[in-house]
């Protein structure tokens, strides 16, 4: 095989390859202008090598007529120069569309004039030349006709001269024009790249630019070399350089297309494209080998053995399938690792979002995914804000202010009805009078992605047009549908996480409140002469609405408080803390008991609503006199069990504290004898219920205390708690439970 033949084959392959690529790109998305322009550009680029191959074949062919270069078909070879204006057009479309905006319509057509002229001159030089001769004027002819004809003849002779010059130097002239196109295209591509922000488009642009740079560089070297040093740059060298330039440029275009989804060519097409090329190459190699089998066998064995060459062919065919598969896999693994495959996107996205609980980070991931995989230019989030129970458009780079959306907004209600990603243009029915619609339109939104959890709209994502003007394909819509479902679960997870953090924090606060409450209760019952006291309080929740307190007034007197706020938990605890503080301050001021309750009631009634109240019992034990001076503000009657078995109830007092203002209270005094027992309790004990909702009851409690009146203070407390617990074993108790037990010593004797 001569070098000439190899080169011809190379030209032919390059041309075919480019034209095939052109057809694939155009066919996959004919509606996209970028695809059309790129397709046309590659098509004309392919024509060049094809004609070079043709020329080379004809030149070598022994049977070719001399002067084949004048044949009409071969004259068409200059058509490939349309590649240059198309390259310029491409550079104006990618990565930014500069054409749609301004009215470059005529310029767009004008840039095709030079190659058109070139082709016309080459094709029709003879006809044009003779047509310009029609006004030939004989030197001796003078008259009227010559007056009209003369200027025309002069003009035409000038035109003919121009034509001759163009014809004579056509190659240099049009080479210079082509170089100008190339330089302009390079400039536009370069300046376009600087404006690219989308990371994926940036990668694509880099590959496309590298390809263009290599191609343009080689082209410049070939053309300038031919013009400046024609001896060095023979026809063969120049055309080889041109073909290499085209091959390098288009190769990197293809790499960008397949690996980085440059141009709107779908996955299926890109895959079949690679398969077609590999199969074609393999079949080509096989054909050569089969055709040459005889020669190969002859060179191996030194003889021509027809049978062996058949065997060789069969052997080759047996290996065809495995080799084809292997090459397939190899190329697939090289190209298809691309992360633009939608399955990969979904997998990667779900892997990322599952571990993201920070809503801001989550939104960034969503935005990045949409920008890199779908090449969306800008992404806006409109989310439901629990704290203000309104929807709000979150700040973005171009609109840094957060905008709250009226819940009655027509567009919002329209989007609420959606279940799947929807083109914004199909929502125009909801635009009239809608502020949201105005906002979306000024931001150039094209696509709306509702995120629904059951029937509740968590919000939606608004997408602008895709980069470089690509359309949203049906593949994209499917992907967006799956992504929005994933976003819903991710957003819900993030919200639950935040809520659980909040709950933990609240629980910690309540635990601290419990500690404060425990600290407010007397840590040890006071030791006093002539009696023993003990007390216990168990809240039904972490904090409770019961409290008891012992206040040492002087050496002989001890104040005893038990109280129960209505309700349970934190509200009750807050009220009880306030009451305790007020009681302590009144006792310290030495206020008489009835006035003290009146004051506390007045303050509490003024600061809380009527339904919040406290039942409270306050008594003062005077050890010297052996008396107990008390007032009962609506509290369960404390039980005084005399040593002889009689029961007295301490009822005197007045209304519960905090319900109504301006209340008066009475006070009373009882004398405590030896071995008398006084038990104070809250309704958590008397109202404990068994499984049949039967109350334990105050009567039973009184009887119990009476029966065990000989026990010590801490014993009677255990007895009561155990008996109530056997009635209602619920733990912790359903209601706050508090007991204070006071037992007089046997040796007590009243003074005076």
């Amino acid at each position: 095989m001569s070098a000439e033949l190899l080169r011809t084959l190379c030209y032919f392959l390059t041309g075919g390859f480019l034209i095939f690529l052109a057809i694939t790109i155009t066919r996959d998305n004919f509606r996209s202008r970028l695809n059309r322009v790129t397709g046309a550009m590659l098509f004309f680029a392919g024509l060049g090598p094809l004609f070079m191959a043709l020329g080379s074949v004809l030149a070598q062919s022994a049977t070719a007529p001399l002067g084949f270069e004048a044949s009409p078909v071969y004259k068409l070879r200059h058509l490939w120069e349309f590649f240059f204006p198309l390259l310029l057009l491409f550079s104006c479309l990618f990565p930014f569309d500069r054409l749609s905006r301004a009215g470059y319509r005529y310029i767009r057509l004008a840039i095709f004039l030079p190659p058109l002229m070139h082709s016309v001159i080459v094709l029709f030089f003879d006809q044009l030349s003779s047509a310009l001769d029609i006004f030939h004027v004989d030197p001796g002819d003078e008259g009227l006709s010559s007056l009209v004809v003369q200027p025309l003849a002069t003009l035409f002779s000038w035109l003919k001269l121009t034509l001759n010059v163009l014809r004579g130097y056509e190659r240099s002239i049009f080479a210079v024009i082509s170089i100008a196109y190339v330089v302009a295209a390079g400039y536009f591509l370069e300046s376009g790249r600087k404006r690219v922000t989308n990371p994926k488009i940036l990668t694509q642009t880099r590959w496309v630019l590298t390809g263009t740079r290599i191609g343009l560089g080689l082209y410049l070297v070939a053309q300038l070399g031919w013009m400046l040093a024609p001896r060095l740059f023979s026809e063969g060298v120049t055309s080889s350089l041109l073909v290499t330039a085209l091959l390098a440029g288009s190769g990197l275009f293809i790499f960008a297309t397949i690996r980085h989804q440059f141009l709107d060519v779908q996955m299926v097409f890109r895959q079949s494209f690679v398969n077609t090329i590999t199969s074609a190459l393999l079949v080509g190699v096989y054909i050569v080998m089969v055709v040459q089998s005889r020669a190969i066998v002859a060179s191996m064995f030194g003889v021509e053995a027809e049978l062996v060459s058949y065997g060789f062919i069969i052997l080759l065919l047996l290996f065809f399938q495995p080799i084809n598969n292997w090459v397939d896999d190899l190329i697939r693994s090289m190209f298809m690792r691309t992360r633009t495959d939608h399955r990969n996107v979904i997998e990667r996205f779900s892997r990322q979002v599952i571990s993201l609980f920070d809503p801001t980070q989550l939104r960034q991931t969503i935005e990045e995914t949409l920008k890199t995989t779908l090449l969306v230019n800008r992404v806006y989030f409109i989310l439901y804000d629990d704290s203000i129970t309104e929807y709000a458009m979150l700040p973005s780079d171009d609109h840094p202010r957060r905008v709250v959306i009226d819940r009655q907004d027509l567009m919002l209600r329209g989007i609420n009805l959606l279940d799947a990603p929807t083109y914004y243009r199909s929502l125009t029915d909801y635009s009239p009078g809608s502020d949201l619609a105005t906002m979306l339109e000024t931001r150039g939104v094209r696509m709306v992605l509702p995120m629904k959890d059951a029937d509740h709209l968590l919000g939606f994502v608004a997408l602008t047009e895709k980069a470089a003007g690509y359309r949203y394909s049906s593949e994209d819509l499917n992907l967006l549908g799956v992504l929005s479902n994933q976003m819903v679960s991710a957003l819900t997870n993030a919200r639950l996480y935040v809520e659980s953090l909040e709950r933990t924090r609240l629980q910690e606060e309540i635990n601290m409140a419990r500690q404060i409450q425990l600290d407010l209760l007397p840590s040890n019952p006071p030791t006093i002469d002539c009696s023993t006291i003990c007390a216990r309080s168990t809240p039904s929740r972490t904090v409770g609405g019961d409290f008891y307190d012992f206040i040492k007034i002087d050496g002989d007197r001890l104040g005893v408080v038990i109280a129960d706020a209505s309700g349970k938990g934190m509200p009750a605890a807050l009220m009880i803390t306030q009451t305790q503080a007020m009681i302590r301050s009144e006792v310290n001021n030495g206020t008489p008991i009835a006035s003290m309750l009146k004051n506390v009631n007045q303050q509490l009634a003024a600061t809380t609503s009527a339904e919040k109240y406290v039942t409270l019992f306050y008594g003062e034990l005077d050890t010297r006199r052996g008396t107990f001076h008390y007032a009962n503000a609506g509290h369960n009657y404390p039980i005084l069990a005399r040593s002889d078995g009689t029961i007295e109830l301490l009822k005197t007092g007045g209304l519960i504290i905090g319900a109504l203002p301006h209340m008066e209270y009475d006070e009373d005094t009882v004398t405590l004898g030896p071995d008398d027992m006084l038990v104070l309790f809250t309704d958590g004990l008397s109202e404990a219920m068994d499984e049949n909702e039967v109350e334990y009851g105050e009567d039973r409690l009184r009887q119990l205390v009476c029966n065990h009146r000989n026990q010590k203070a801490h014993e009677i407390m255990e007895t009561m708690l155990n008996d109530v617990r056997s009635h209602d074993p619920t733990s912790p108790p359903r209601d706050d439970t508090t007991i204070v037990a006071l037992k007089m010593n046997g040796t007590i004797s009243a003074h005076e």
Binding site: G567, S609, E611, T615, G634, Y637, I656, D683, E687
Partner: protein, 112 residues
């Protein structure tokens, strides 16, 4: 708690049924009373015969109702108070605040 109401001789008779406890019961009674006050009907009798049980919060609801009506120059009276509630009213000394009657008719008659 379920709440029905009727009018007899210019007096609203409320008939709660079940248990009076906290939470939604409070809003229910409060909203009802507020509605009556808006309509200028401020004489109210609560028939407690079908109340099985009442806790401290339930009692708070009654006090709130009493206060609300009194602030609108109205009055809240109780009728057919069960033993359980009677003892609750006694302990808390609310017997001195609420007018309680054995029958609804007596309660209505007391307004005239």
């Amino acid at each position: 708690m379920k709440l029905t109401d009727r009018e007899q001789d210019g007096v609203v008779v409320l008939e709660p049924k079940g248990k009076i406890m906290g939470g939604p019961d409070a809003t229910l009674l409060h909203d009802k009373l507020y509605e009556f006050i808006q309509q200028g009907r401020t004489k109210v009798v609560i028939d407690l015969s079908r109340i099985e049980w009442m806790n401290s919060t339930g009692l708070g609801i009654l006090i709130q109702g009493y206060t609300t009506l009194r602030n609108s120059d109205g009055q809240l009276k109780l009728a057919k108070v069960t033993d359980k509630i009677q003892s609750l009213l006694t302990i808390t000394k609310l017997v001195s605040v609420f007018d309680a009657y054995d029958t609804v008719e007596d309660a209505i008659a007391s307004f005239n």
